[in-house]
């Protein structure tokens, strides 16, 4: 099992999900992908996508303060 971090900061939709999908599809079952995004819309969109995704399960979502003081939205996915 491995954990990979995907830096999606500064990317606007649909890019965080397109990149996450590409990464997760290439991973092995049980692997984790942690996406760091700055688009607030990514929170609802990762929830929506993971509900219907064949490869990604949403394990956790949290918000942290970025280096510039603006929030970073962290989404943790597990490869199904």
């Amino acid at each position: 099992m491995s954990i990979k971090i995907l830096d999606a900061k500064g990317l606007k939709c649909p890019m965080p999900i397109i990149k996450a999908k590409k990464e997760i599809d290439a991973m092995s079952p049980g692997d984790l992908l942690e996406i760091h995004a700055t688009d607030p819309g990514s929170v609802a969109d990762f929830q929506g996508w993971s509900k219907m995704s064949k490869t990604a399960v949403l394990k956790d979502q949290r918000t942290e303060g970025g280096s510039d003081g603006k929030p970073v939205y962290i989404h943790v996915l597990e490869r199904r």
Binding site: C13, P14, I17, I18, G41, D45, G48, W49, M52, S53
Partner: protein, 385 residues
Amino acid sequence: MNAEHATTVERLLEKADAGEPFLLLDVRNDDEYEAWKVEGRRQIEMLHIPYFDFVEDPGLVAQVLSDRREVLVLCAKGGSSGFVAELLRAAGITAKNVEGGMIAYGDYLQPVCVPLDADEADRFEIWQLNRRGKGCLSYVIRCGTAAIVVDPSRNVRAYARLVERLGARLVGVFDTHVHADHLSGGPELARLSGASYCMAAGTGGELKHAVTPVREGEEIRLGDAPGRSLAVRVVETPGHTPGSTSFLVGRRHLLTGDTIFVSGIGRPDLGGYVAEWGRVLYHTLHERLGALPDDVVILPAHYADVSEIRDDGVVAGRLGEIRRTVLELQIRSAEEFVEAMKSALSAPPEIYSRIIATNLGTSQVEAEEAAEWELGKNQCAASGH
């Protein structure tokens, strides 16, 4: 962006209003879609599939049936819809991205000229700018080379452009009251044009913007050619807010702000004093507006439903007709009116208190955040819908 691959909110609404055949594919997430959708004056054929469904399974394009109709794709800001439109085009479907998405829809102002009777039409003009996404109405009034703007939205360049197109100079910017549902463009438009920003003297001590106060009975004169000038008279109509003011343009057009609408009245509870303000509103509706003749045309600051837009594109109603048809105006005592208000009204959106603070000038907001605050339609009416 390739013009064949993109379209605008303006064009989308033109097509929808004219009943042209097209399919609107909204690719936002479920919550966003349920909360707020594009409305045309005629029914829009709409399909909702979130963009991430297409990311997961690009084969979904087969679900977007195309009988050679055009597909317009819409999302929150125009990014994801561009991606989906491209997928559709790759599958041979004629698809265009609606640039700017729902943010652009919320900002778009549709200018419509209000028809006037012959005795007034040769002297001045009234333009109603319909903010279709929110149901907000603002006005540009021109006489000679002078123009004023009433209740401008945040998208202030649209007003400056229209005034310029009419060959006029902006001499005053007015707000009928401190808005709760949307950010006023008044202070910025005044700064941009050098015109003064005017509000009722009774607006309240909390107001931090520099305003020129206007008072009951005062007349704003536009145009100076003999027999060609226009008087806009200040009519104090408190109730929706303590400082709510209406403007009588010429002899028969009354800009009422949120005091009275075509199919309802303004809610008196947004300041948290429903009993006190409700009583004042009752007095305004029956005594102050009661003194005006039936043929006065009401031009409000809001509408609640696209059905209120007339065939000529204008939202307006005769005062007599409004008095006859709006339920709240049939109540004949202030006590009963206040009780009806208390029981009918649901809590206003939480964001309204922050919008009020910004419009008073006691706090500020960044442009991007401002757009988030203003998502969705207004909830300023106490009735009708």
